[in-house]
């Protein structure tokens, strides 16, 4: 539900951005708005990526509880707290991305809009979210200050309707954001890898105990004839054990490789977006006015993970 609300919000932002487009003819403004649209799309993909990561950590928490209930190792409170802390950190990053979308919209609506009155609240919110991020090895105190300083500069520039200065502030912020994601990329991939292995381990343990119905594997034989297999007996479960294990291993590997591909695509999109914003900030024409193609990979992966 929250996801739908978020998507509706993003659509509204895009409509707003397009309307702003139609209202002016200045080349710099046009480029600024094109960059802002790309910024909006990239920030949305970033948010969706974090929502998917948060969902993977949440599912890991559920799987540990399940593992314990099924006779596996106990899930102690301290470990669970660490898991929940990581989930919370992903949630904070997703929230930051959502706020970044509204900042991008303000940037798009600089000329002749009422954005100037709206932007301080959004920027203050984003600043608070940057502040709330746990300062680890991935985000230094210096980077955090840089992001906050850029936002303050952005608010002033928007209030004074100074497009290029606003672009320069956004430029500084996106640079720090790109750095943050690049520094944490290994941690993100690690989360995906452990989730794929955990889900695989729980599923395999149940197959070994003969608790999994292999009926789905028989579908290609029976479905063309509108037939249904009888509930599997022990012999059939044993015969189909290996194909079931192979299917699990294949899908777990796909989850892991999909995550790595999405992380690489996200890094590439963020870098491309930062370069475009930098062009606007330094008064150079935008060569490309479409969103980075790599965003589709991120969005498709995020949707798949959330739906699991």
């Amino acid at each position: 539900m929250e996801q739908q609300g978020f998507q509706r919000f993003c659509r509204m932002i895009l409509v707003l951005v397009v309307c702003m487009f139609a209202a002016t003819g200045c080349k710099t403004s046009t480029d600024a708005r094109a960059a802002a649209m790309q910024l909006t799309a990239t920030a949305k993909a970033l948010g969706d990526y974090y929502i998917a990561l948060e969902s993977m950590v949440e599912k890991s928490d559920q799987l540990y509880t399940l593992q314990e209930a099924l006779g596996g190792a106990g899930y102690d409170a301290e470990t669970r707290q660490h898991v929940l802390n990581v989930k919370s950190e992903m949630g904070k990053r997703a929230a930051l991305s959502r706020t970044f979308i509204s900042i991008a919209a303000s940037f798009a609506g600089l000329s002749g809009s009422t954005a100037a009155t709206d932007v301080p609240a959004s920027a203050a919110k984003l600043e608070a979210q940057v502040e709330s991020l746990k300062v680890t090895g991935t985000l230094s105190q210096n980077q955090q200050s840089l992001m906050k300083g850029a936002l303050e500069l952005f608010v002033r520039a928007v209030q004074e309707h100074k497009e290029r200065q606003a672009a320069a502030a956004i430029d500084s912020f996106t640079g720090a954001l790109v750095q943050l994601v690049a520094n944490e990329a290994g941690l993100y991939d690690s989360l995906g890898s452990q989730y794929a292995t955990l889900a695989q381990a729980v599923a395999l343990s149940q197959i070994r105990k003969g608790r999994v119905d292999p009926a789905a594997l028989l579908k290609p034989a029976f479905e063309p004839f509108s037939l249904t297999a009888l509930p599997a007996d022990q012999e059939l479960r044993e015969q189909l054990r290996q194909p079931m294990e192979q299917q699990i291993a294949k899908k777990a590997a796909a989850i892991e490789s999909g995550q790595k591909e999405a992380t690489m695509a996200l890094n590439a999109s963020l870098l491309e977006m930062a370069q475009r914003v930098h062009r606007v900030a330094t008064d150079q024409p935008l060569a490309i006015d479409t969103t980075p193609l790599t965003l589709e990979i991120v969005e498709a992966w995020a949707a798949k993970i959330v739906a699991l």
Binding site: A73, D76, H82, S190, S193, T197
Partner: protein
């Protein structure tokens, strides 16, 4: 992923995947030791993720190299599965280093 991240994850993943098979080969006492080791590996991994420390400490690096070496031996032992006591011994050795690594990260 840094060397430390990769090594800690590899140890935890190896145990996670092999835990079911190992359990089937264990006596009740051995299963208890296995559970304790698996829980400790999982805790070390999540503690590390929670703190996400930087891979810039010489001591951490040295421990990561050691853990990596033990992890290689562990994988080899798991392939054989013919000596459950030997496997548990390797797991305990890997875990001791993993916990030390996570504890070191906690104070960074």
């Amino acid at each position: 992923m840094t060397d430390v991240q990769q090594t800690l994850l590899a140890t935890y993943k190896t145990l996670q995947l092999q835990e079911g098979m190992l359990r089937a080969a264990c006596s009740i006492e051995q299963a208890k030791v296995l559970d304790e080791n698996y829980s400790a590996a999982r805790k070390a991994y999540w503690e590390y993720m929670d703190r996400a420390f930087q891979n810039n400490d010489a001591e951490v690096e040295a421990l990561a190299v050691q853990l990596n070496a033990v992890n290689g031996e562990l994988s080899h032992s798991l392939e054989q599965l013919n000596n459950i006591n030997k496997v548990l011994e390797k797991i305990s050795a890997a875990l001791a280093l993993g916990i030390k690594l996570a504890a070191r990260a906690a104070v960074l």
